[in-house]
């Protein structure tokens, strides 16, 4: 052991010395803070490539290509090139951005984009440099504002407003509708305007066809659409001023339980398929065949309906003329689809505002801003509306296009659209809600008749709130 043990100890000591020295130096160096820099100067970066993430529909219908080509030809002199990022449209910037795999500019829904604010993954935008700021609907713009560290910032530029719409077959409305189905004589069939008449009409169809044809059909367990019935009677998702307070779950608040009553009544004119997602999938072909009269879904699937109708043997012109998208019907104030006595109110439905944001990890923030401005210009949004049928957030365009586009804009302003809150905990809302809706449908269709009193309905929806609360808070927090 004469020389061996000391040698061993010396070796170990040497290694440890190296590790500790370097490690401690590293910790000290980390303490020195680095200086940041202002991102949005007026200098356009030269010779950069921008990766743009758009949604799949824009890519499919060719709009993205037009947009990219137009932008590239305009900014060719700066050497700025915009390309399709070619990644999943729901890509999570939080995961991909910090490591350099994310896009520079991204188009997603407001709840997805605003979730990146906490981690500072998207840049606050200089409002004075946003060209279309004045034309934008204030309510739409509001969805992209948030307060961080006491100051309010804007994080995105809204492009279009999205809400559920009623899809129906115009040619399936009875010929004598003007006399039979237009009580308020306003030239619009009642079953399109009022849920009570839709309910009555559906009952009639179901009975007359001996359960082979139906009126309004929808997968009631789809929380996104079912939630609207609860909102219309005073319910909400999260409370607080900004709608983000997860300690206050509000489906059962005010008269929210009436939403459950409406759902149960609607289920009675459907079949058991409404307790699962079958109807969501088969509505395209069933409506094309005429087995369903109407359903509710988002406008981006309009082309699928047309395609199925063509498959069923109609011409495309006929399909476009007879498969109509319109604003959703109004609900009875009484909360009972068989009671019109108290009049009607607008239905509040869950919706959102899609828009552009700029990733904090981009190497070319000014070029990105230039792209966003270009993409939200009058010309491009007009073209987008033409190709994709969206409802623009730009006031001027909405007014010009009129019709449904203008109406949706107004819905957002009047509060008939409940903008999806950009809270992570939202993921916990769906399962309890959809289980309850499926239970209500099952209750009436299998004649279990448990939820026939207001008290039972109130208990049921309060249970949903409790489950959501438990799912979010039991294990979370500090």
């Amino acid at each position: 052991m004469r020389k061996t043990l000391p040698a061993l100890i010396a070796h170990i000591a040497l290694i440890l010395a190296v590790i500790i020295t370097v490690g401690v130096l590293g910790v000290i160096a980390a303490g020195v803070s680095a200086e940041g820099s202002e991102k949005f100067t007026d200098e356009l970066e030269r010779n950069v490539t921008l990766h743009i993430l758009e949604n799949d529909t824009a890519k499919e219908q060719g709009y993205l290509k037009e947009l990219l080509d137009a932008f590239n030809s305009e900014y060719a002199e700066y050497g700025i090139k915009a390309v399709d990022a070619n990644i999943d449209q729901y890509n999570d910037l939080e995961q991909s951005g910090p490591f350099g795999y994310g896009p520079d500019v991204l188009y997603q829904a407001n709840d997805a984009l605003m979730k990146y604010v906490d981690g500072k993954h998207i840049l606050p935008l200089p409002v004075d440099k946003i060209e279309c700021a004045e034309e934008l609907s204030e309510a739409a713009f509001k969805a992209y504002r948030s307060t961080v560290g006491g100051q309010e910032y804007t994080f995105g530029v809204p492009v279009n407003i999205q809400q559920p719409l009623l899809f129906y077959r115009k040619d399936l409305i009875p010929e004598n509708w003007e006399t039979e189905w237009d009580d308020d004589k306003n030239g619009v069939p009642d079953m399109i305007e009022y849920w009570t008449d839709m309910y009555r009409f559906s009952k009639q169809i179901k009975k007359d066809s001996n359960n082979s044809k139906y009126g309004y059909m929808k997968s009631l367990n789809d929380g996104y659409f079912a939630s609207g019935y609860f909102f219309s009677y005073g319910g909400y998702v999260f409370g607080g001023e900004d709608g983000k307070d997860t300690s206050d779950i509000g489906f059962s608040k005010n008269d929210g339980y009436l939403g459950g009553k409406i759902i149960r009544q609607l289920a009675s004119v459907m079949n058991l398929e409404c307790t699962e997602d079958t109807i969501t999938r088969n509505s395209y072909s069933r409506m094309a065949k005429g087995d369903y009269f109407a359903t509710m879904t988002t406008p981006d699937v309009y082309t699928l309906f047309i395609k199925e109708m063509v498959n069923a043997g109609y011409t495309e012109e006929y399909a476009r003329a007879n498969l109509i998208m319109t604003d959703i019907p109004s609900l009875p104030v009484s909360g009972d689809l068989e009671d019109e006595s108290q009049g009607f109110k607008d239905m509040v439905a869950m919706g959102g505002v899609n828009g552009y944001a700029i990733s904090s990890y981009t190497k070319a923030p000014n070029a990105s801003l230039a792209f966003v401005n270009f993409a939200t210009s009058y010309k491009m949004i007009n073209r987008r509306a033409e190709l994709l049928g969206i409802s623009p957030a730009r006031r001027d365009l909405a007014e010009e296009l009129g019709g449904l586009n203008e109406k949706i804009n107004q819905n957002l302003d009047s509060g008939s659209i409940y903008v999806m809150p950009s809270v992570r905990a939202l993921a916990q809302v769906w399962t309890p809600l959809q289980t309850f809706c499926a239970t209500l449908a099952d209750d009436v269709l299998n004649e279990k008749d448990v939820y026939v009193t207001d008290e039972k309905l109130k208990d049921g929806i309060r249970n949903v709130d409790n489950q959501i609360y438990a799912a979010i808070h039991t294990l979370g927090g500090s």
């Binding site: 490591f99 795999y101 395209y284």
Partner: protein, 285 residues
């Protein structure tokens, strides 16, 4: 005389009965396994994309639309590219994974070294962890090695994780008698030679099993590629199919059928190695 004849007849009819029952059971089993695949195949030939336009299990109209669309509509769904991506990944992981697994299993079976029992217990234990967090860890490791958006990253992971499943192959090696090893050592062969020249030829069925399973896995795994491959052109078939909409079921089915084809081809290539009763002759050599 008659009694003997009766016995023979009885034995014969018993045999016939046996054979008939066997084929009956086999047919039922084959049908059970085949029917859902048949449904998928039929669905891929359906004209309409939606499964709800079917008449029960069978489409109402047939056509090649789904297949055509699968290979021509590459704007959104570049199936051709995905297919070859997955083929590449599957072939490489099959080769590397099989090599590593067989080596590991052989060593664990034949050699007695100090940490052996500990390693066996450890691998059993490690296999029991629910692997949710594992995917996040793998993603982070890959970002540090710059292997995101690279097929070799996936190949590396599949091959590296393959030896964890060595127990199947080890069980097989354990059933090969030691006498074969001894006979070869007496002739002066090194362990390496024993492995390559004597043990491997006897292990063909296990090689087939290992190759088939390691080839099949990349075709159906969508969690790992979804995380590691961000660029859509690099997707594997599993991830790509998941991104297809619901109304495109015919295309979805067509895509799935094509996944099955290379695997079945590989099976038919390798099936002749899965013959039985070889060990009986081997020892006598």
């Amino acid at each position: 005389m008659n009694k003997a004849k009766a016995k023979v007849v009885k034995a014969k009819s018993k045999k016939v009965f046996n054979v008939v029952i066997t084929y009956c059971i086999l047919s039922i089993v084959a049908f059970i396994f085949f029917f859902p695949c048949l449904w998928l195949i039929l669905a891929s030939f359906s004209k309409s994309g939606s499964i709800y336009s079917f008449d029960g299990f069978f489409p109402t109209e047939y056509g090649f639309d789904a297949f055509k669309a699968l290979f021509t509509d590459t704007v959104m769904y570049n199936y051709k590219r995905w297919f070859f991506n997955t083929l590449f990944i599957a072939v490489m992981s099959c080769i590397l994974g099989t090599l590593l697994t067989i080596l590991t299993a052989y060593c664990m079976s034949r050699f007695r070294f100090k940490s052996r029992k500990a390693m066996m217990k450890a691998t059993l234990l490690l296999g029991m962890f629910p692997s949710f967090m594992g995917t996040i860890a793998v993603y982070l490791i890959m970002t540090q090695f710059n292997l995101i958006n690279q097929h070799w990253g996936l190949i590396l992971i599949y091959s590296a994780q393959a030896p964890m499943g060595y127990m199947v192959q080890k069980g097989f090696f354990d059933t090969i008698p030691y006498s074969i090893d001894e006979a070869a050592r007496i002739d002066g062969a090194s362990n390496f030679t024993v492995f390559v020249k004597f043990i491997l030829p006897l292990s063909k069925p296990m090689l087939v099993y290992t190759a088939l399973t390691s080839f099949t896995w990349p075709w159906s795994d969508f969690i790992l590629p979804k995380m590691l491959l961000i660029d859509k052109d690099l997707y594997t078939v599993a991830v790509g199919l998941m991104s297809l909409g619901e109304t495109e079921f015919a295309r979805f089915a067509a895509g799935s059928i094509f996944i099955a084809i290379p695997i079945i081809l590989l099976y038919f290539c390798l099936v002749k190695y899965m013959i039985n009763g070889m060990a009986a002759g081997a020892v006598k050599e």
